[in-house]
Symmetry: C2
Subunit: 689 residues, 2 copies
């Protein structure tokens, strides 16, 4: 069955509807009636299926797919070396600038033929080109000037799943796993195929199939449970998506029966080598391993007095002969900190741990680094490992699933947040060394760089619970492909492909989406301080929730002031982990951006921000505004009721109401907390409890 469900919300941005402009529809239809594909392969089959299905939906016709043109007008999908009759239409510069995964789409017309050409060096390139052509139709772009040459800016574009075999998803807010149930693979793989379609349509080329916290059943995925992985491999390979597994560092003991997992132990190294050989024997294109080691209770090399280098390189050596990658998470910190201890600073942990190891990892080792130094808060500075590491492959990790950003009950379009990270200038090799540039690998001349995102999907019919959270998955893929895209451009594409080309929808919804992160930030933890959430599940306000805890996450609010002094001069010295220009910016109160003020400095409540408001008045104001802004979101959405199908409309509407209630709770708890602590009145005398 293609697709698995016909529910409109299920289609996400692959929502192929009849075109609204008949003349344009007729033009496209003429070209798409005859599809010429002169090669074979499983990815090619996926291309055929997608074209056949979408053409049926767009034009209500059955496309004819042949290996040679049967009409004068057609669409041809062909490798660069595949067809003599079009090779002379490709310019030299087009040819040279096409990368392995890139594609070229152009419209060609000569005396005997009129055709749309999609060409590429690889099957994957053809697939991406096909989806691009389909998207052009969805967005009703004119056909005349069709001429597109694209290639991904970042080599590794990987989605990470925190799915467990029992069907649960760590930090999942849209139901259970679409892969697993009761320690088995689900029965029906059609839905997984549709997920692969969604991923490849936005250019993602890798997936980690299981949670980084690897429990006992998941540990067996590299042994007796490999059949589960094989079956998923068989789905994802058809969409050019490499599969990766999270592995348990203690596997040699847990499933290997060895007495140690010491990475320098001969038997352990042999065991991993055999294990990797076993995997590649079943899964020739296996991507590699992701490892969370010595972090939050996960096993790792520290147990044996070995380093991360010892641990990672040992696994990388086993993978190297097969071309496999070893991805090692930098999320390592002391999660048993004493809150009384003012010296230790969790923000410093990743840099302190990994900088001394720079240059010691093998070529196929990649360090996966969260965007910020803490853990996916609504606002954090960029992780200083970006700009620190000079001789280590790096993956940037984003969290698409909205753990700290409203759990898919609140609207929070994260692309603007991610853009700030990608655009951040690290000054690694002088001005202009953005994070995006680093993770593109271009300055390191290595393909083992990339971007990863923790998936926000589950088995709810619309994948993400909140329909509008689909935009985060879409945006993640698009940014991974091209970090220079603006948040606005991305959201407009997404809206058109998801809801159609109505102008009011486009205008209202893009405004809603683009403001939503800022709105969420307003009514939650202020000025970069973070962590004012309920412990454990992380939903809803709790100012002291993590204040007297072991997690290294404090705001240090007292009667006079608030914030964490992370300066070199008088604080933890975290600021010194940045290169000079950024160090100077963050170290000094007058240059530190307001939105990160409390992350870097402990200041009085009456300290004046750049807008001349005091910190406390800013807290009061933003928290009242935040709720008003949510009401604005509701009003905007209500304006779209007539343009959007009632199911999606009312589902989003219900969530907006929940967001409003929750925002009020945030407003009142945060304001009351600070009012009770400071006894300083709100200048506007609004109601605080």
């Amino acid at each position: 069955m293609f697709p698995y469900s016909n529910d409109v919300d299920y289609q996400c941005w692959l929502n192929y509807q009849r075109l609204e402009t008949p003349s344009l529809s007729d033009q496209y239809k003429e070209y798409l009636k005859n599809i010429v594909i002169n090669i074979d392969g499983y990815i090619i089959d996926s291309i055929k299926n997608e074209l056949y299905y979408s053409i049926k939906k767009f034009f209500n016709i059955e496309a004819i797919i042949t290996n040679k043109p049967i009409k004068r007008t057609f669409t041809i999908i062909s490798k660069l070396d595949g067809g003599s009759f079009f090779s002379n239409t490709i310019k030299e510069e087009e040819y040279t600038s096409l990368s392995e995964e890139g594609f070229l789409i152009k419209k060609v017309e000569n005396s005997t033929k009129k055709f749309i050409l999609i060409t590429a060096k690889s099957d994957e390139g053809l697939l991406y080109g096909t989806y691009k052509l389909i998207q052009n139709i969805q967005m009703e772009k004119p056909l005349d000037q069709l001429n597109l040459l694209e290639k991904p800016y970042i080599p590794l574009r990987i989605i990470n799943h925190w799915d467990n075999l029992d069907g649960s998803i760590e930090r999942g807010y849209a139901g259970k796993s679409i892969f697993y149930r009761n320690n088995e693979l689900v029965d029906n793989l059609d839905r997984i195929r549709d997920y692969a379609r969604l991923l490849s349509s936005i250019g993602l080329n890798g997936i980690v199939l299981n949670n980084v916290n690897v429990k006992s059943e998941e540990t067996k995925l590299i042994a007796e449970r490999i059949n589960i992985v094989e079956k998923l491999y068989d789905v994802f390979k058809r969409y050019g998506i490499k599969i990766y597994l999270s592995v348990n560092f203690a596997s040699p003991m847990i499933i290997g029966g060895l007495k140690t997992a010491d990475p320098l132990d001969k038997e352990v190294r042999k065991w991993w080598k055999e294990r990797v050989d076993f995997i590649y024997n079943r899964i020739p294109d296996f991507g590699g391993f992701l490892v969370k080691a010595d972090s939050e209770g996960q096993p790792g090399p520290f147990t044996y007095n070995r380093t991360h280098v010892d641990g990672a390189n040992m696994l990388a050596e086993a993978l190297a002969p097969h071309g496999g990658l070893l991805i090692w998470r930098a999320f390592v910190y002391n999660c048993y900190q004493d809150w009384r201890d003012n010296e230790t600073d969790r923000a410093k942990a990743a840099y302190d741990t990994f900088m001394p190891l720079d240059g010691k990892f093998l070529d196929n080792v990649i360090i996966q680094i969260k965007n910020g130094p803490m853990d996916f808060q609504v606002r954090e500075p960029v992780n200083p490992l970006f700009g620190g590491l000079q001789k280590t492959n790096q993956i940037l990790e984003f969290q698409i699933t909205q753990e700290y950003t409203g759990q898919q009950k609140h609207l929070c379009y994260l692309v603007p947040q991610w853009k700030e990270v990608l655009d951040f200038d690290t000054f690694l090799f002088g001005e202009g060394t953005s994070v995006a540039k680093i993770v593109s690998g271009s300055i390191f001349n290595s393909p083992n760089f990339g971007i990863a995102g923790i998936s926000n999907i589950g088995d709810e019919i619309n994948w993400t619970g909140h329909t509008l959270a689909q935009a985060n998955l879409y945006g993640f893929g698009r940014l991974a492909w091209d970090p220079s895209l603006s948040g606005k451009k991305i959201i407009e594409e997404w809206i058109k492909c998801t809801f159609g080309n109505n102008e009011t929808v486009l205008n209202n919804l893009s405004e809603m989406m683009l403001k939503s992160w800022n709105i969420y930030e307003k009514y939650t933890a202020p000025l970069g301080v973070g962590w004012m959430v309920n412990p454990g599940h992380h939903y809803g306000p709790n100012v002291d929730g993590y204040e007297y805890s072991r997690w290294g996450t404090y705001h240090k609010a007292d009667h006079y002031g608030i914030g964490v002094d992370r300066t070199l001069k008088s604080g933890t010295g975290y600021t010194a982990q940045y290169r000079q220009q950024n160090f100077e910016k963050y170290e000094h109160l007058d240059s530190c951006p307001d939105e990160l003020l409390l992350f870097f400095h402990h200041v009085s409540y009456i300290y004046k921000l750049s807008n001349n408001k005091t910190v406390l008045q800013h807290i009061y104001d933003t928290h009242f505004e935040g709720v008003e802004d949510v009401q604005w979101l509701i009003d905007k959405w209500q304006g779209l009721e007539r343009y959007i199908d009632s199911k999606r409309y009312s589902s989003v509407y219900q969530r907006l109401l929940e967001q409003r209630e929750s925002a009020k709770e945030w407003r009142d708890v945060i304001n009351s907390y600070f009012y009770r602590k400071t006894m300083i009145y709100d200048e506007k005398r609004r109601k605080i409890y």
Copy 2:
């Protein structure tokens, strides 16, 4: 197997050891070599077993049990009407003052015979007398003047279990249920029999077998799963313990297939009647039902716009023909309160709900009322329903399991707390109407009064996790039997029976136990304000943990002051629920006891307590003292190392270390919270963070 385990910690206070005084041992042995029992019955069998077993342990002899004396010296256990040869030794006043459950023990000597007589009107009385004689031996009491006449002061003495059929225990801190596992009864009932021995040895005569939150499997206990109840009945009846079940008010719908559970619906009433008949057909001595209705999500009559009277009386009518009781919990409050709402006061809920219903319940309905108006905090005033209700049967509910009092990791001997409740003068019918007198039923001339305690046991080998928590179960039973017993008397009995008669152990341990509640109070929530715990599991400090929540549990601390104004004059008016004398005491700052100050009043941190300390300095001082006191507990316990077996010694020692760590956490979090909020220094300049 009798007992199920020989582990010394498992025996609790039925720890029968060889006597330390040989001469006394010889005296007792002479009498106990020959036991004369001239009646039969299953309770009588239990008496025989206990005597045979204990005599073996005390004297290493096999007692000879006959129905007539075979020697000149013996012990005889006989109903009052059972033997002519001793009837002339019983005085008229002894005869008349023996109640149904009471017993008489005396030593008789004449020219032809020397015997210890245990006599009673009922088998239960004989059982209680037997345990009393055994305890006298354990405590090495002299034999010469043996002459005891006892009867329980309170009619219903019931242990409540919050056990679920899956084996979990709500608020259990000593392992899983000893009754259930995987929705079935456990295989081996020997351990349950030993539990019955423990309960009847302290005079308890009822047990509620399942959690008041009745889920789907437990709902079936009154239907297809009755066989589980039957088997437990067969164990407990042998020890004079009636069994009760918690039932789901919605049972007619859940298992009866009816469309309603409306208590005034004819079909519903018929269904319950048939259900009760069905139960009594299987379990002739069934005690009755316990119901948590319209509370914390449990179903109840409110759904149908009916009252608690409608609900309770309907069930009571079904039970009445069989002599069954209907126990209805008064723990009813709005658990969706808005923390911003200063009018609503959870403390007022039980009184407000049940006072208007006084006199409207049937004779076999009993309202079960928690000791305080909130929920088992370390310090609360007495629930004003005691002293309010004049025409309603009442059960006083204590929590033996240490939910808010250290979860059996901290030492907290609760008898002193319970004593304060039982001794509290309600002034119901003038001065001298203590809570104990009320729940004895004597002033109401009804047997349907009593006391209930939530069990603290689980399947850990020593029943209660913390060995010293066994004393709480023991003390609960002893107080239920005789509320006039002092905490000191009870703990001394318990120590002797549990650890033997060593003087050092007796002195050190009784001092530790008697101070422990006060120590726990010192380092936790101050001055009666309560609730400064982590939400959900309720272990460890979290000052604002319940401050911005829906549970009606607030401390209202701001920069200037703290406490809940519950006065009539300016607060919620809760004080007016007490009779005049208590109202006056609590209403006015100068007469309100310090330990309840913040429960009744919102005061400034610089308000002076009766000891002339400010509230804040009191908080600082008690929190520093509390940790020092825990160290004192540790020192005291270390002094006992040579007198106590190493297993129990080190198990308690480990828990005391955990208590010390946790007490430090409490001290530092509470003190830091208030210091940061007030910025008032500790006078002694101790370390606050």
